[in-house]
Symmetry: C2
Subunit: 487 residues, 2 copies
C-alpha cells in the first residue's frame, strides 16, 4: 500500500468507527459536550457511544465513564471537548486505550496568537505522533457522515448527497447546510478540520477523490502546509471529480482574521488563484458562489461536446420564462459574462411560425413569457424546441413565479411549469438551470407553493438557482471549466 | 410655470384621477381588462371606476358602458386594454370626452419590429398630440400608487414606502415587489411606461425629484429619446434624492431583446455608464443589485462625515456576528471591494480586555461570534462599542441564524439578536446593514422565525440583506457614491 493509500484507509476507518467516546461530555444542552452525544443519537449512529466525564452520572440515557480507561469496550474514535490544559493527558490516555484517532473540538492553541498556546500545540503534535494517535483539528467540529449516523450538530441535514466537503471552518458547514439544503446541497461526508495539525487538506482531498460515495468535492481552505503538494493533490482530485475550492484569507485583512481563526498562513492570493485554476479545480470567492458551483456540478450535465474533446469557448445560451426587462437584463448579463445569447435559431423560429404565426419574427431569445401569453404557445414547449436545436448549448428555465402569482390560478401555474421543467431536465443532454426565487414571502401560502415546487425540482435532481443572475453566473463559471477540459 | 413644472403638474394630476375608465374591461379573470378593475377595487380606489366594453353588462358589480361617450360623468384617466386596431378611435373618443390622459396596456406597436405596427404607433402619437391627450405607454402596465388606491395588479404591495420608481418594464415591477417586499422595498408611486411614446423617462424622473412622497428614486430604462436631456435630468434628480438606475440593453443581445420589448434604442453601454456616474446617480447592472441599492438608499444613513464635505475614500468597516470562515471571507471580500477591515480599534480592544480579559488580543474584526461564545461578552455589546469608536465608519450586524438554530434556544437567540440590532440601528449615525438569510427553510417553524425577525427589522426601518456578500457589496457601492459627493 502506498503512503497515500494508507492514509486514505486510515481516514476511511475514522469515518466508520465501531464506537465513539465523547470526552468532556455534558448533560448541559448549552455545551458542545452535550451536542456531540445528542447528534450521534439523533442521527442514528449504531455503534457504542461512551460519554466521558470525571463527574460520572448519566447523559441522555447513557452511563458516563470517569475516564477513557474505565470504558469496558474498544474505543475507535474520541471526540474531545475538554479544555486545552488536559489535552496531553488525553492523548496519552488514547494511546493507552488503543484509540487510533482523536478529534479536538478543543481549541485555544496557535489561533489565539499567544506563545504558550502555540507551544502547547507543538507538544500536542509531538505527543500524538509518538503515541500513534491521528488527530483531526484541533479547534474544529469534526465529522459529518449522515449515512453512517455521524454528525456534530443535530440540525445538519440527515439526507445524504453527492458532495464530499473539507472545511477549515465548522461555521461554514452550518451555513452551507442552511443556505443550500433546500436546493439539494447535501453531503456524502464532510469534515471540519480546523488547525490541520496532523491530518490535513491533502489527506482529506485525496480521500474524497477515491471515496465511492462522493461525486463532487468542495473545499474551504484558509491555509495549506505545503503549497506544491496541495496543488498536485488538487490536480489529481479534480481530474477525477469536479472540485470547487473557496479560499479564505486572500487579503491582508482576511489573512489576519484567518490567523485568529485557524492560525493558517494565507499566502499570496494571485499565486493561489493561478495555481488552483491550473489544477483544473473551480475557484470561487464567496459562500454564494460556492453553493451555486456545488449545485451546478452536482446537478447539471456538462455539455455533450466536452466529453468528445470539443471546445466550448462561448456557449450559446437560451432562456425561457419571465419576460420584459428580465429578458433584456439576462441577455446583457450573459454577454457580459462571455456567454452568447443568439436570436431564436432558425429551426425553432420555424416551429414558432407554424404554431403561432402571429409571433413569428417578434419572439426572440430570451423568450419573453409576456409575448407568448394568450398565443396558445407555452414557454415549456419553446424550451423543448430549444433543447432539440443544435444551435443552442445551454438552457435556463425561469419559473417566473412573480408573474404567475398575479394570475387567478397562480399556484397551479407554478406547479405546472415546475413539472414541465422536470420533464425537460429528464431528457436534455445540455446544462439546464432552473430559476425559482427565494421563498421569502411573508405570506405562508406562497412560501408553501414555492417551497414545494423547489422540493419537487430538487428531488428530481434539477439544479435550482434563486435568481437568474446566480444561474447564469454559474453557467458561465462552469463553461470556462468545461471549455478548458481536454478529456 | 416652466414647461418642466407644467409637465410635472400634468403627471401629478394623472396620479390623482377623480375617475378612471377601463376600456376593454372584461369579466374574464384571465384578462388584463379584469385585472385593472379588480386592482382598483381591491386597493380601495375612492374615485369612480367605469368599465367600458361594447358588450355591456356588469363587471365586478359595476355597470359596463358601451363606449367612453356613454359614461355619464367626467372621466379623468383612461386605461386601454383593447387591440391596437381600435386605438386611434379611442384617442378621438378621449378627446371628445375631455379625457386628459390615456394609458395603453395595448401593445403590438413598434416593438413587434413590423413596419405597419411602427406606422400605427407614429399615427397614435400624432393623433394624441393633436387631440391634447397625454399618453403613458403604449405597451405598459401604467400606474401604481398604493396610497391613492391605484394598482395594475392585485398582488402588488399595498404598503407605501419611500421609493418612487419609473420602469420601462412592468414585469420588473412585479419582480421588485416579489423579491424586495419582505425587505421593505415599497413604493411611494411607480410607473410602468413601456414604449415612452409621449410622456417619457425625463418627465417621470423630474416628477419624482419633486414629489414630496418620494425619498429615493429608482429607474429601469432600456432606451432614452434624448441622451443629453436625460443625463441633465438625472443629474438634477440625483442632486435632490438618491437615484439608482438599472440599464437594460447594454449589450448587442440585450439591445436586440430591448427592441422586441419596448422598441428602445439602447446606445453604447460605456458612454451610458460614464454619463450616469457623472450625473451622481448610482448605476447597477442586475435586479439583485437594484433591490440592494434601493434598500441601502432608503434605510441606511450616509456616514456623518459626508454631510460636512469630508471625503470617505476607503471606509473602515466592522462586522459582528457569525464567525469562523464567515469572518475570514467577509474581510477578504471587503478588502477586494475597496473597504478597509481594520483590526479592533484600541478603544474597543480596551473595553474587550476589561470585560473579557481572556479574549484580549485574540478577538479581531470581523468579530467572530464563536470566539465570544461562553465569554459573557455578547456580539451586540461589541457592536455598540464599534459604533462608538471614531475609528470605524460603517457597521454590519450578522444575525447568524445558521449558528443560532443549532442551539437549544435558537429561536430566542434570533429574536434577541434582532432586537439588539434594532437598538443599535436606532442610535447609530453610521451606515448599518443587517444580514439575515433568506427564509427558504423547508421547515415551517424556521421560516416563521426568520420571517418574523425580518419583519421586525423592516418595520423598524433597518436595512436587511440576505447575505453578507450582498450587504458589503451594497456598502461598497454606496461608499463610492458618498465619497464622490461634495455637499
Amino acid at each position: 500500500m502506498t503512503s497515500r493509500a494508507a492514509v486514505a484507509a486510515e481516514i476511511d476507518a475514522i469515518f466508520h468507527p465501531g464506537s465513539i467516546a465523547v470526552v468532556g461530555a455534558s448533560a448541559n444542552p448549552e455545551t458542545p459536550g452535550y451536542d456531540y452525544v445528542r447528534s450521534l443519537q439523533e442521527f442514528g449512529y449504531e455503534g457504542r457511544i461512551y460519554p466521558v466525564n470525571p463527574k460520572g452520572g448519566e447523559i441522555l440515557g447513557l452511563p458516563v465513564y470517569a475516564s477513557l480507561g474505565d470504558i469496558p469496550g474498544v474505543v475507535d474514535y474520541v471526540i474531545s471537548c475538554i479544555p486545552n490544559a488536559y489535552i496531553l493527558d488525553l492523548v496519552r490516555d488514547c494511546a493507552a486505550a488503543g484509540v487510533k484517532a482523536l478529534q479536538l473540538f478543543t481549541g485555544r492553541f496557535s489561533e489565539t496568537g499567544r506563545a504558550d498556546d502555540a507551544a502547547l500545540e507543538d507538544r500536542l503534535r509531538r505527543t500524538a505522533r509518538a503515541a500513534g494517535v491521528r488527530l483531526i483539528g484541533p479547534n474544529c467540529m469534526g465529522l459529518l457522515y449522515p449515512e453512517f449516523g455521524i454528525s456534530f450538530r443535530t440540525d445538519m441535514s440527515r439526507k445524504s448527497g453527492p458532495i464530499g466537503f473539507l472545511s477549515q471552518s465548522g461555521n461554514l458547514l452550518f451555513e452551507l447546510t442552511h443556505f443550500g439544503e433546500s436546493r439539494g446541497l447535501r453531503f456524502s461526508k464532510a469534515i471540519s478540520y480546523g488547525n490541520a495539525l496532523d491530518l490535513n487538506e491533502c489527506d482529506f482531498l485525496e480521500y474524497f477523490a477515491e471515496d465511492a460515495e462522493t461525486r463532487v468535492i468542495g473545499a474551504y481552505i484558509e491555509g495549506v502546509r505545503d503549497g506544491r503538494a496541495f496543488i498536485q493533490t488538487l490536480g489529481r482530485a479534480s481530474s477525477r471529480k469536479p472540485t470547487v475550492v473557496l479560499k479564505g484569507g486572500r487579503t491582508d485583512a482576511g489573512g489576519r482574521t484567518a490567523v485568529s481563526h485557524t492560525a493558517a498562513l494565507a499566502g499570496s492570493a494571485a499565486v493561489w488563484e493561478a495555481a488552483v485554476r491550473q489544477s483544473g479545480a473551480l475557484s470561487v470567492a464567496t459562500v454564494e458562489e460556492l453553493v451555486d458551483a456545488l449545485i451546478g456540478c452536482a446537478y447539471m450535465r456538462a455539455p455533450a461536446g466536452v466529453h468528445s474533446g470539443d471546445r466550448l469557448s462561448r456557449p450559446r445560451l437560451a432562456m425561457v420564462g419571465a419576460g420584459g426587462g428580465r429578458s433584456v437584463l439576462t441577455a446583457d448579463l450573459c454577454e457580459e459574462l462571455g456567454l452568447r445569447v443568439p436570436p431564436l435559431p432558425q429551426d425553432v423560429e420555424a416551429k414558432v411560425a407554424e404554431k403561432a404565426p402571429d409571433l413569428a419574427g417578434w419572439v426572440t431569445n430570451p423568450v419573453d413569457q409576456s409575448i407568448l401569453a394568450g398565443s396558445g404557445l407555452g414557454g415549456a414547449q419553446v424550451l423543448e424546441w430549444l433543447d432539440e436545436s443544435p444551435a443552442i448549448d445551454m438552457l435556463v428555465g425561469n419559473v417566473g413565479e412573480p408573474w404567475a402569482f398575479g394570475r387567478p390560478n397562480g399556484e397551479a401555474i407554478v406547479r405546472r411549469v415546475t413539472e414541465r421543467f422536470i420533464e425537460v431536465a429528464a431528457k436534455t443532454n445540455k446544462p439546464f438551470a432552473v430559476v425559482l426565487g427565494p421563498s421569502d414571502y411573508a405570506d405562508e401560502e406562497r412560501w408553501r407553493v414555492v417551497s414545494e415546487a423547489r422540493e419537487r425540482l430538487v428531488e428530481a435532481g434539477v439544479a435550482v438557482f434563486p435568481s437568474v443572475e446566480r444561474a447564469v453566473r454559474t453557467l458561465a463559471r462552469l463553461a470556462r471549466k468545461w471549455s478548458s477540459r481536454q478529456d
